[in-house]
C-alpha cells in the first residue's frame, strides 16, 4: 500500500484502521481488518453481499462501535469520541446512502438546505445561493420545488449527492451509490464522484459489489470476504489477479474459496453443485 493514488499531493493517511473486529451477537462480521487510506484518494470496499461492507462504513461514521481495534480519522479515534465530539466529527463527513435517503416530507430545496440550516446561522439569502449552487453543480437547477417522489432514481441520487456535499466535507462515504440506476445515471454519478473528489481534494470511500463500475472510478480496492481483507490493489491489477479469492470475486466465478451458499447438513445436492 505504498502508493494508492496518482492524484494525491500528500501521502498522509487520513483514515487509519487497526485490528478492527466487529461482532453481531455471536457472529463475527469483521475479524481483524487493518488498513490506511491516504488523503485525496478514492478507495472502494468490495465484496459479496452481506460480508460487512456497510458495517465498515457504519464503524467509520461512528454509528457502530467495534468490539476490538481502532479507527482513527484525522488523528481522532472515532470509537472513543463522546456524543458531542461525534456530532462535531460528522459535520465533516458527507454520506451518500443507498437509494439516496431523501427526506420524503421535504422539497428538494429543503432536503439540501437541512444540514446548512442545522449547522450554520447563514441568512436565508445565502442558504438559497448555496443550495442552488450545489443543485446546479449536479445539473439539476430548476427542480428545487419538486418533492422526492416526483424525481427519477438518478435525479434523486444526484439531489442526495448535492445534500452530501453542501457543507463541503473533507471525507465522503458512499454506500452502493449506483445501485438500481440506468447506465446514463451511473455515468453521471460516477463523473460527479470523481470530479468532486479531485476538485475539492476529498478522501472518498465507496462501498459496492459492482466490479465494473469501480474499475474506472477508484484508485484502490479492498475485497472483503469472511470478515477479512481477501485482496487489495489497484482495480486493474485485481482484475488480472490469479489469487483464487480475488479472481473469483472480480470475475464473478461460482467456483472458488468465497462461500456463498448455505447447505443444511445431510442435504444430498443443490443446483449449484
Amino acid at each position: 500500500m505504498e502508493s494508492k493514488t496518482d492524484n494525491s499531493d500528500s501521502s498522509r493517511p487520513v483514515i487509519r484502521i487497526r485490528d478492527l473486529v466487529y461482532r453481531r451477537g455471536r457472529r463475527t462480521i469483521l475479524d481483524g481488518i487493518s488498513l490506511d487510506i491516504e488523503q485525496g484518494s478514492m478507495v472502494a470496499f468490495m465484496g459479496p453481499s452481506g460480508v460487512g461492507k456497510t458495517t465498515i462504513l457504519r464503524l467509520i461514521s461512528g454509528q457502530l462501535r467495534p468490539a476490538e481495534g481502532t479507527i482513527e480519522i484525522d488523528g481522532h479515534r472515532v470509537c472513543s469520541l463522546s456524543n458531542r465530539e461525534l456530532h462535531h466529527f460528522r459535520r465533516n463527513l458527507g454520506v451518500l446512502l443507498q437509494e439516496g435517503a431523501l427526506f420524503t416530507d421535504l422539497t428538494v430545496f429543503e432536503n439540501i438546505a437541512t444540514p446548512v440550516r442545522e449547522h450554520t446561522d447563514l441568512p436565508e439569502a445565502l442558504v438559497r445561493r448555496l443550495v442552488m449552487s450545489k443543485l446546479n453543480a449536479v445539473g439539476l437547477g430548476g427542480i428545487e420545488e419538486r418533492m422526492p417522489h416526483e424525481l427519477s432514481g438518478g435525479m434523486a441520487r444526484r439531489v442526495a449527492f448535492a445534500r452530501a456535499i453542501v457543507l463541503d466535507p473533507s471525507i465522503m462515504l458512499y454506500d452502493e451509490p449506483m445501485t438500481g440506476l440506468d447506465p446514463i445515471a451511473v455515468s453521471t454519478i460516477r463523473t460527479l464522484m470523481r470530479k468532486t473528489n479531485d476538485t475539492l481534494g476529498l478522501t472518498s470511500l465507496v462501498i459496492t459489489h459492482n466490479v465494473n463500475q469501480m474499475i474506472e472510478l477508484v484508485d484502490y480496492c479492498y475485497i472483503i470476504s469472511e470478515g477479512r481483507i481477501a485482496g487489495e490493489g489497484r482495480p486493474r491489477d485485481l482484475v488480472e489477479s490469479t489469487e483464487p479469492g480475488v479472481d473469483q470475486f472480480m470475475n464473478g466465478k461460482v467456483e472458488g474459496p468465497i462461500r456463498f451458499q448455505y447447505q443444511a447438513p445431510g442435504t444430498p445436492w443443490g443446483l449449484l453443485d
Binding site: R91, V95, L97, Q98, A101, F103, T104, T114, L173
Partner: protein, 256 residues
Amino acid sequence: MTGSHPLLEKIAKPFAEAGECLHFLFQMLGGVRFRGAQAAAVLQQTYLVGARSLVIIMICGFFVGMVLSLQSINALEQFGASNQVSLLVGKTLFRELGPVLTALLFAGRAGTAITAEIGLMRATHQIDALELMAIDPVQRIALPRFAAGVISVPLLTAIFNAMAILGSVILSIGVMNLDSGIFWSKLQTSVYFGEDLIHGMWKSLVFGGITSLVATYFGYYSKPTGAGVGTATTNTVVISSVFILIFDFIMTSFLT
C-alpha cells in the same frame, strides 16, 4: 437478560420496554430548544395530525351526542325525568366520553399515521441520513410529532364535545321535542367548568401525551421492513388504547 430463564425474560420485557419508552420521552424533552424552526415544525405537525383529524372527530362527536341523548331519554323516561337529559349527556361527555373517545379516535387516525411515517423513514434510511448529518433524529422527527399530539388532543376533545352537544340538541329538542329552556338551563347549572370541563381537559392532555409517545416510540424503533412497520402500527393502536383506559381509571380516581 442473556442467559436468564425464558419466562423471566417474558415477564421482564414489558417493564424493560416501558423503561425504554420513558427514556425516549426524556430524550425528546431534553431536545426542546424553543427555536423558531422547532416551533414551525410543531405547527406543521399540529396541522397534519390535528387539523386533518377534524372531520372524523366532528362526525363522531355529532353521532355520539345523538346516540347518548337517545339512550338517556329512553332510560330517563321510565322515571319521568327525560328533561334531565342535558345533565346526563353533559356530565358523561365532558368527564369521560369526550376525552376517551377523542383519544381513541386520535390513536386510530393520527397515531397510526405517525408510526407508519416514522417507521418508513427508518426503513428508507432517512433516520440514518439524519444521524450521519449530525442532526438528532429524535429532536428532528419525534419531538415535533409528540408535541403536536399533546397540543391537538385537548383541542380536538373540545371540538368533539361541542359537536356532541350539537347532536344532543338536535335530537333532544328537534326530534324528541324536549323543552329547549330546560335543556340549556340544566346544562348550565349542573355541568361545572372546573369539576367537569377542566377535569376532562386534564385527561385529554395526558391521553394526547400517551398516544403520541407510543406512536413516536413504536415508529422510531420499528424494524425496517414492511412487516416491522405493520406490527409497530398495530402496537400503537393496541397499546395506546389500553393505556388510555388504564390512565382514565387512575385519573378519575384521583380527580374526583
